[in-house]
């Protein structure tokens, strides 16, 4: 019944036997111990669980861990290297792009993808590009500012 999977997470290879129904988000949080990505809904609307699989932002609550076999995953924990924050993380901090912080790891991962695909997004492009991520605290204005600031920095 269980399947053996091997997944590279934040640069480290992990091998586990998992039930096919184990969601990737539960695998990351409870088997591997990476509790940065969060769970906010069960209908893949909120985006709190967003991680990157093979370079693409995905909702890890809408993927089974077995589907990640052989793939490369980046979570919020893997974003800052050597204690240095990623420019998107830095910008969220500086622009006050978060309050309770629950949506933030997913929001940052989605923002990172957005900037990678569109290095100088307009406000409207940012707002539409983040439609897969809900935030109940900020009203999004500072998040938009953070994405703009991060894009400027990453393009510089």
């Amino acid at each position: 019944m269980k399947k053996s999977i091997t997944v590279t997470i934040n640069g480290t290879k992990h091998t586990h036997d998992v039930e096919p129904r184990l969601l990737l988000i539960h695998y990351l949080r409870e088997v591997v111990g990476l509790t940065g990505p969060h769970i906010g809904c069960e209908t893949s609307i909120c985006g709190a669980c967003t991680v990157s699989v093979d370079g693409k932002a995905i909702k890890s609550c809408a993927m089974f861990a077995v589907q990640a076999d052989g793939r490369e995953i980046l979570t919020i924990e893997g974003l800052s290297a050597d204690g240095k924050l990623h420019p998107v993380q830095q910008a969220f901090w500086e622009e006050h792009g978060l309050q309770c912080g629950y949506c933030t790891p997913g929001m940052i991962m989605a923002s990172k993808q957005l900037i990678e695909r569109n290095p100088s997004p307009t406000e409207s492009e940012i707002r539409h590009g983040l439609e897969g991520n809900l935030c109940r605290c900020t009203g999004y204005q500072h998040i938009v500012a953070a994405v703009k600031a991060a894009a400027a920095k990453m393009g510089a």
Partner: protein, 287 residues
Amino acid sequence: MIAQNFDYLTPVSLAEAFDLLNDPGAKVMAGGMSLIPMMKLRLAAPERVVDLRHVPGLNKIQQDGAMLRIGAMTTHHELESTPLVRAACPLLAQAAAAIGDVQVRNVGTIGGSIAHADPSADYPAALQALEAEIRIAHRGGERTVLAKDFFQDTFTTALEPNELIVEISVPLEAKCTGASYQKMLQPASGFAIVGIAARVSMDGGKVSMVRVGVTGLGGSSYRAANVEALLVGSEGSAADIGKAAAVVAEGIDANSDIHASAEYRAHLARVYTARALSAAIARAEAQ
């Protein structure tokens, strides 16, 4: 949040996939963007999930004469971002870009979406307007079904349990043709309350070809032949468009839910048909 247990199967060839699909408890998974949430809510509880991810050759996008052939496992993101699709079949790229959100588009596939046949999905409108051909394979053979015959009713398609969609073919847009997909989205889920896909060719100041596909209004997507008949041959003026768009909901038993009544949906269908036609004509004329 937690699905019932199932066996996870990953065929590496179509033949193997067909073997696995002989089992009545098996369910095909393409991107899983519709299936997995339903499994988590336990509305779906397949005993076996057959993931097509490792079946080779299902995610190619290639030009073949006057047609664009798209593998069933092509993701929405690939369709919205591939230069060939954007240039040769912008309507499909627009419809792909209108689906869900970035994360969903990164994983969801065109084959999975149309096999699911959600009455509010975005692709069906475009595929109806494009008169897409859907190539369906089964053990020992295949057949091609036109979009209008493929989408039958709510969650109901021409696909048999032991068949798989392998490819969707759409025409390369001809010269002087413009297209537009216009959608009123439901603010919570992002699904279409109504979505209208329009393609128009202009020739000598007259509408020489028009195709209109509708999603979200009734139990299934459809091609609004009555709208097309009224518009073709006209100059495509605002008045012509208005007259044609006015009939888009005729004879359709419109859906009603907490997000939009049947009456409002039918009205929106007329408004968005006019908008999609106007945009398509403007694009056709700009060429």
